[in-house]
């Protein structure tokens, strides 16, 4: 006999003697059975007083209330940015490969990216490697490749009819000549990025995958599943959990465009781009009030020191610095 059916009859006071006997022995089985039954009885009776009980719209009420709440440390803007990010987080590809990869893909309108006189590689087709300088390579199908510092690219298998390339390390930017018959693909570890004709950027680092699309659509596959990213989308995360952000941030390929552009950008976000560009972390100390800090400026050839100087002028910041990072200890927006 089903104990829940016995409990049901017991609560309705219509249990048979047999059922009551069963219930008694069930109660004696464990202390937790006894307590659970008491909880059920209490709640069963409580229900009689709950005919008016309703669900008020808590999220809506919070929206109303929080719009009037002022807080020192965590600004509304920051919360909104967080909320925007959090809402789109979802688990993507799950597969059991221990190694995780970082990959950055940015799709650009070619004309919008100025060529700032990067050096041209002269090696034969094979493996391109760069150490201290950015290099470029024209491919036989008319496409071009930019390779960031400390990067390696395998183009040994590349031909007009088999447009496949593998990024072994670092970061690369591709301007792809349109050819619908022969898709252009880039392999990064176990990921394959496929496009027909456009320009995009790939980065491989240690723990994360990042894919950013500036314009058009890029397909990214892990062999099991293919995800299409549209303009402004960025995927980031490890192999088990990816988050999709609505980034729309050209500064992600500032290494290639050689410029950082901020248009009324929330300062903590701008600092991430600056840190990424200069390869040194610029952080806010936890107590720094930044809710009103927005920045509109452009950096092209400035050194990090010059950037910090400008921040000093703009926001009266005070900093403390060591080898690895610069910490903004005071700020006035």
């Amino acid at each position: 006999m089903n104990i829940d059916s016995v409990i049901h009859n017991y609560l309705l006071s219509k249990e048979s003697k047999e059922e009551l006997r069963l219930l008694e022995s069930w109660k004696e089985e464990s202390k937790s059975n006894l307590e659970v039954l008491q909880a059920l009885e209490n709640n069963w009776n409580l229900l009689d007083e709950m005919k008016d009980y309703r669900a008020f719209d808590t999220p809506k009420a919070w929206e109303e209330l929080s719009s009037n709440m002022v807080e020192e440390k965590e600004s509304k803007v920051e919360e909104e940015i967080k909320a925007r990010k959090e809402t789109k987080v979802f688990p993507l590809w799950k597969y059991a490969i221990a190694a995780s990869v970082t990959l950055l893909v940015g799709l650009f309108v070619w004309n919008s990216v100025p060529n700032n006189g990067v050096g041209t590689a002269s090696e034969p087709v094979g493996i391109l490697t760069s150490v201290n300088d950015i290099m470029t390579k024209d491919l036989e199908d008319g496409s071009s490749v930019w390779l960031n510092k400390s990067s390696a690219l395998d183009i040994s298998k590349f031909s007009k009819s088999n447009r496949s390339i593998a990024l072994q390390a670092g970061e690369a930017f591709f301007q792809v000549e349109s050819d619908k018959e022969n898709p252009f693909s880039v392999d990064v570890s176990d990921f394959q990025i496929t496009v027909v004709g456009t320009a995009f950027n790939v980065k491989k680092a240690d723990q994360e995958v990042e894919i950013y699309v500036h314009e058009g659509v890029v397909s990214v596959s892990n062999g099991k599943r293919t995800v299409q990213l549209r303009a402004g989308d960025m995927i980031t995360g490890n192999v088990d959990n990816f988050a999709l952000f609505d980034k729309d941030n050209d500064n992600l390929v500032s290494w290639k465009s050689k410029k950082l552009v901020f248009k009324n950008t929330f300062l903590p976000e701008a600092l991430k781009d600056i840190s990424r560009h200069y390869g040194k972390s610029v952080e806010l100390s936890p107590g720094a009030a930044t809710e009103n800090c927005f920045i509109s400026t452009e950096f092209r050839s400035e050194t990090l020191e010059e950037v910090i100087e400008e921040l000093k002028v703009l926001f009266q910041i005070k900093v403390s610095e060591n080898e690895e990072r610069i910490i903004i200890t005071e700020i006035n927006c």
């Binding site: 909880a39 059920l40 309703r54 808590t58 009420a61 209330l65």
Partner: protein, 184 residues
């Protein structure tokens, strides 16, 4: 008490994130509590929002000697009573206001708050029941229909109603068990 009440760390409500946690836990039970006094849901929400906003504004000054729950329910009660009096409505004169005052006196507010939180918890549990048995459970226990009436309404057998009620009870039982296990 068989149901554990979640009490937010007092220090925590000083950040917006912590405050939201408290808000999410207490907003609905507080509104229901205010509604039980005012019988006006819009006014109930207004009062609860006012009380919570005041707490937010004073968050750095408030000394929570008793727990947050008691503080919140007492504040909402006081505001609701204040409203009834200021309204100078018939309601303020009639006897059930006096009854309410004595039923919700300072010595009883804690117990009332606890019951309200239990109702909230139970209401949430019911909402999370599988849809079919939730419908039947609500019709039976909250809307007071007999099993025969439910069977007729839903075009199912009385036996099915009983089965679905048992399923609902199993769900609740498992939920309570999980909570009790957590408690120890």
């Amino acid at each position: 008490m068989c149901i554990i009440l979640v009490i937010v760390d007092l220090v925590e409500i000083k950040s917006k994130k912590g405050f939201k946690q408290m808000f999410d836990i207490y907003y609905n039970p507080l509104c229901n509590f205010a509604y039980s006094i005012l019988r006006n849901s819009a006014k109930a929400e207004d009062i609860v929002q006012d009380v919570l906003m005041k707490i937010w504004e004073k968050r750095n000054d408030i000394e929570f000697n008793s727990n947050v729950k008691t503080y919140l329910f007492t504040s909402v009660r006081n505001k609701s009573f204040e409203y009834i009096r200021s309204e100078k409505s018939e309601r303020a004169k009639i006897s059930d206001y006096t009854l309410l005052q004595s039923r919700l006196g300072d010595d009883k507010i804690d117990k009332e708050a606890t019951i309200m939180m239990m109702k909230e918890e139970l209401n949430n549990s019911i909402r999370h029941l599988p849809p079919k048995c939730r419908d039947i459970f609500v019709l039976s226990k909250l809307q007071g229909l007999t099993y025969n009436e439910i069977a007729e309404l839903k075009n199912i057998s009385v036996k099915t109603v009983e089965t679905q009620m048992s399923i609902a009870l199993r769900n609740l039982r498992e939920k309570f068990k999980a909570k009790l296990d957590n408690e120890y």
